[in-house]
């Protein structure tokens, strides 16, 4: 299915072609080639080994954990894992690059072709599920950081980030709209976080994207692309594409040509500007790093990587729909984020245990609770709520009471409010606050008898065919029971008495 996203130019429609290179910081305690720590936010230059500082005679030694994480990531996008890969040096001078080269993988990347599914989202303009090709994932070193605001004439350098492992995940030019690109980044982030190979924290720079954009007449050859560097949020990625696509259309329609160049995004204005043109492009003089032997992966290592993979988003979503009977919407919402599904699965297990039913029997109830009821209560309380009180055990108790008919939906919310504020036990709260509904048929029957007796005319009308009056009797009964009667019991008794 072809995307219908088009730029309406003065001379007609233009299609946008997008490819993304996502840099994802590998979750690992130590750097790619040195033992230095990778913790974020430390004092400048406190996490720098002799290797990171490129002292004379220092040598890189690959960190097995970083390689493992990249391999697992590759497996998660069903990519080819190259059992033989090699590190290359990318040579250029800059003050944040102590070695004078970045160790990367140009010629023989660790991970080859794979793919990623983005799901249909009508509202966002993605009419159908779409598979986005992934060209490769290679592993490389991050650079340090320059600080230009510390001294009137000098720049300072912080080398803490130098040598931290990055995965560069290169997509094929398969995306055709900002929405698709946004969905791609979100999905990729989700997979990385499922796998645990990157924390996906775009604000801290753990994940950032280089956005390649070109435009063409629908169906024609690819146009010249520009690359906008280091874009660090999904929203910005989408903004870059919109801005760049429109800018390129303007250039072409005004008789110009798009320059193949590297651009920078300005989040304040939502625009991009030239960083360096093709003529100024570096000649990186890539060549195999002679300090490192080729990386050869053993079958046992690959097996371990595969065995350690968790259930991934697509599989989980399918299972939620097919085995748990959740709606596609609920399944997608619950599986999008690691935290969401983790909370859901814990609550589901606890609830099933307390109720004594299989998970599939209570999944819909738990999903509705987890996706709408519980977040609603939490939000309405604001600062009054202590999220630490939102234990699976407490929530499962509430759901179990509700399942038994001891409490109504409204009472469940009220109890949960108190739980969030006080951390109290839901059952005790229900007892003490009288937040229970009456399922005692005797009491309800008595109330109903009184109402029927007092409303003879309405009874006649109802029996004469005015079905809608049933609601009146329910309302009267609930009122008489001060809202605490179990609606199901009320309905049943009313039906028996009125229809009987």
């Amino acid at each position: 299915m072809v995307s219908t996203y088009r730029i309406q130019g003065a001379t007609g429609e233009w299609e946008v072609v997008i490819g993304l290179e996502v840099h994802a910081q590998v979750t690992s305690n130590a750097k790619l080639f040195s033992g230095a720590s990778t913790a974020f936010g430390a004092e400048p230059n406190t996490q720098v080994s002799l290797v990171d500082a490129a002292m004379p005679g220092m040598l890189p030694v690959p960190n097995r954990e970083c390689i493992r994480q990249a391999v697992r990531t590759g497996m998660a996008i069903e990519a080819q894992i190259n059992k033989w890969s090699r590190f290359d040096r990318k040579n250029y001078f800059y003050a944040d690059l102590p070695q004078g080269y970045q160790i990367s993988q140009l010629y023989h990347p660790l991970v080859g072709e794979g793919s990623l599914l983005i799901e249909a989202d009508e509202k966002a303009g993605i009419p159908e599920d779409k598979v986005i090709g992934i060209e490769r994932i290679h592993v490389e070193q991050d650079a340090g950081k320059l600080m230009h605001d510390q001294h009137p004439t000098m720049s300072y350098v912080d080398l803490n980030r130098v040598g931290i492992a990055l995965m560069e995940i290169v997509s094929k030019p398969d995306m055709r709209s900002p929405a698709e690109a946004g969905a791609y980044v979100r999905k990729l982030r989700s997979i990385l976080r499922y796998v645990g190979s990157c924390d996906g924290n775009m604000e801290e720079g753990s994940m950032r994207a280089d956005v390649n954009v070109s435009v063409r007449r629908p169906g024609e050859e690819f146009g010249t692309r520009t690359e906008t560097k280091n874009v660090n949020s999904v929203r910005f990625v989408m903004q870059v594409i919109e801005y760049e696509a429109n800018r390129q259309v303007d250039v072409i329609e005004n008789g110009g040509t798009v320059d193949q160049e590297t651009r920078l995004f300005d989040p304040n204005t939502g625009t991009t500007r030239t960083m360096r043109s093709k003529e100024d492009a570096h000649d990186y003089r890539y060549f195999p790093d002679p300090d490192l032997l080729p990386l050869e992966l053993e079958d046992s290592f690959l097996e371990e990587c595969r065995a350690s993979l968790p259930e991934l988003p697509d599989a989980k979503r399918t299972r939620y729909e097919n085995d748990l009977g959740l709606t596609p919407y609920n399944a997608r919402e619950l599986t999008a984020e690691v935290e969401t599904f983790a909370r859901f699965e814990t609550l589901l297990a606890e609830t099933a245990k307390q109720i004594g039913k299989p998970e599939a029997k209570v999944a819909t109830q738990v999903a509705n609770w987890a996706l709408s009821v519980a977040p609603g209560v939490l939000k309405s309380l604001g600062d009054e709520a202590d999220p630490a009180n939102a234990t699976a055990e407490a929530q499962a108790k509430i759901l179990a009471m509700q399942d038994k008919g001891d409490i109504s939906g409204g009472q469940a919310k009220e109890i949960y409010e108190i739980v969030l504020k006080t951390g109290g036990d839901p059952e005790t709260i229900a007892d003490e606050k009288g937040l229970k509904q009456v399922s005692d048929t005797g009491a309800i029957e008595a109330a109903i008898d009184a109402i029927i007796a007092a409303n003879g005319d309405k009874v006649d009308e109802y029996r004469g065919g005015k079905d809608k009056l049933f609601g009146f009797f329910v309302g009267q009964t609930m009122k008489a029971m001060q809202g605490k009667a179990n609606p199901a019991v009320v309905n049943q008794i009313l039906k028996d008495k009125l229809d009987g």
Partner: protein
């Protein structure tokens, strides 16, 4: 009274262990000899206290009846390419002048752990780039040797020229060297001493200032094959900090030394018979064959057909790696910084590197940058790597017919300082016989054979199979026993 400076590694070690003399006496004697020999310019800095402290530690151990290390009581010279903690480490370059590392290279640490002490940091060609020791920022090293009847300053070879000069002059019983394309073997040959470059990966490169990572190998330089065996044992070993380090046990080479070559085949590579090779060199080669035959070996002809491409390939691969390895000397974090008034980052790089690197280093950085650049990479670097593979395959096939290869170490004897440095290509040809073994990562050794008619030493080279340092050392010993090379330069310094 013993002249301690006439003693080699084994004699000192055994003498100290046996109580014939103390390590301190030895260290004092060599410290004095070093102090007297400033004219050789073999040392960039001297570290007499280091030598004395190590000696005292050995003497104290002996007094307590503890076992002494493999190099117990032996003071040595350390090529100034090895990082030594708290001692200036320069690679003979202005760009690192004053640099004192906070770390000790694995090889030097291994030697200290084995009981050796340091007389000082030895001069070398700048960043180990050179074959005559004329590219050092700290001045030329003089060979202790003179051409008969002349007083011209002679080259000790390079790049380990400080090492060869010091050992030949008996101001150090042994020294470390590094060999990228002959930098141990050629200076050893020029000065009448032994030097072995082990299999690539035997000695850790951690803490050795890098020239060309895929070729750089450390090794010992000493006056006998036995001394080389002892010292190499102390230097070698797997190092997890070097990803190219060999994860293999270090054999007891000294114990397995044997000059009996019965049943061994010695290959004579026909392609090493090159035009322009000195007649006397060819004569020494013939003599070497006789000696090895006499030791029981069978002499066989072998072919290494890609030999003539080795040197050009080397001068692509080594500068390519060097151009990248030397990028870290940028004035930002350590070493020289030239910051002209109003300079930006690029200006600082340019000024620092222009002032910090010598001409030969700049030449190789330029060559290396060129051969890796877009559009030339395949024509140069890729081709050179193919040749490297072919050269290695030549040896592999050659070694199906023989156990060790015998060849000259150099095409000529030492030359006067200044006579070749206007002509880099002729200078590069000095390593024509040494480079193939470097490209193939093979163990190779130079042992002194004889003096030529000018009274200058000539060396013979032995190249072995991967990991077969023993075969190389044994053949070297067979030559040593028959050559009886005991000539010494006359002291003029």
């Amino acid at each position: 009274m013993t002249d301690f400076t006439q003693l080699g590694v084994k004699q000192i070690r055994d003498g100290v262990a046996g109580g014939d003399f103390t390590a301190r006496e030895v260290a004092e004697a060599f410290n004095a000899a070093v102090a007297e020999a400033a004219e050789l310019n073999a040392f960039i800095v001297t570290t007499p206290d280091h030598a004395l402290a190590a000696a005292d530690a050995t003497d104290a151990k002996r007094a307590k009846g503890e076992e002494l290390g493999k190099m117990g009581g032996v003071p040595i010279g350390m090529k100034d390419l090895f990082a030594t903690k708290g001692v200036q480490t320069t690679a003979a370059s202005h760009i690192l002048e004053g640099f004192e590392p906070e770390y000790e290279s694995t090889v030097s640490q291994n030697l200290w752990d084995a009981g050796a002490g340091m007389l000082g940091k030895l001069n070398l060609d700048q960043f180990a780039m050179g074959s005559s020791n004329e590219t050092s920022y700290f001045g030329n090293v003089n060979s202790p040797w003179k051409k008969d009847g002349t007083n011209a300053a002679m080259s000790p070879g390079g790049s380990s020229g400080g090492s060869s000069s010091a050992v030949a002059a008996r101001i150090a019983p042994a020294a470390t060297g590094t060999d990228t394309g002959g930098s141990i073997r050629q200076p050893a040959a020029f000065t009448g001493i032994c030097g072995i470059k082990p299999t690539y990966g035997r000695c850790s490169r951690w803490g050795v200032v890098a020239f060309a990572s895929s070729l750089d190998q450390a090794g010992p330089m000493a006056r006998s094959v036995e001394d080389c065996a002892i010292m190499l044992e102390a230097m070698a070993g797997f190092d997890p900090k070097d990803a190219t380090s060999l994860d293999m046990p270090v054999p007891n080479w000294e114990a397995a030394l044997s000059a009996d070559l019965k049943g061994k085949k010695v290959g004579i590579p026909r392609e090493y018979r090159m035009d322009g090779t000195d007649e006397e060199i060819l004569k020494s080669w013939e003599q070497g064959k006789e000696w090895l035959r006499d030791a029981g070996a069978e002499i066989v002809d072998v072919s290494l057909p890609h030999t003539k491409y080795a040197l050009p390939a080397y001068y692509i691969v080594a500068p390519a790696e060097a151009s990248s390895n030397l990028a870290r000397y940028d004035g930002v974090r350590y070493g020289l910084r030239e910051l002209p008034e109003g300079a930006g980052l690029q200006d600082m790089y340019a000024a620092t590197r222009a002032a910090g690197f010598g001409d030969e280093v700049k030449r190789r950085i330029l060559i290396g940058t060129y051969v890796l650049s877009a559009g030339f990479y395949d024509a140069y670097y890729t081709q050179a790597q193919k040749i490297r593979t072919l050269v290695a395959r030549d040896f592999e096939q050659g070694f199906t017919q023989c156990d060790v290869i015998l060849a000259p170490t150099t095409p000529t004897a030492s030359f006067p300082l200044g006579s070749l440095n206007e002509d880099p290509l002729t200078m590069y040809l000095n390593d024509v016989f040494a480079v193939p073994a470097s490209l193939a990562g093979l163990p190779a050794m130079s042992v002194p054979a004889m003096l030529n008619s000018d009274g200058l030493p000539l060396g013979l080279q032995l190249v072995g199979k991967p990991f077969d340092e023993q075969g190389v050392l044994n053949a070297g010993l067979a030559i040593q026993n028959r050559a009886n090379f005991n000539a010494q330069p006359e002291k003029w310094w």
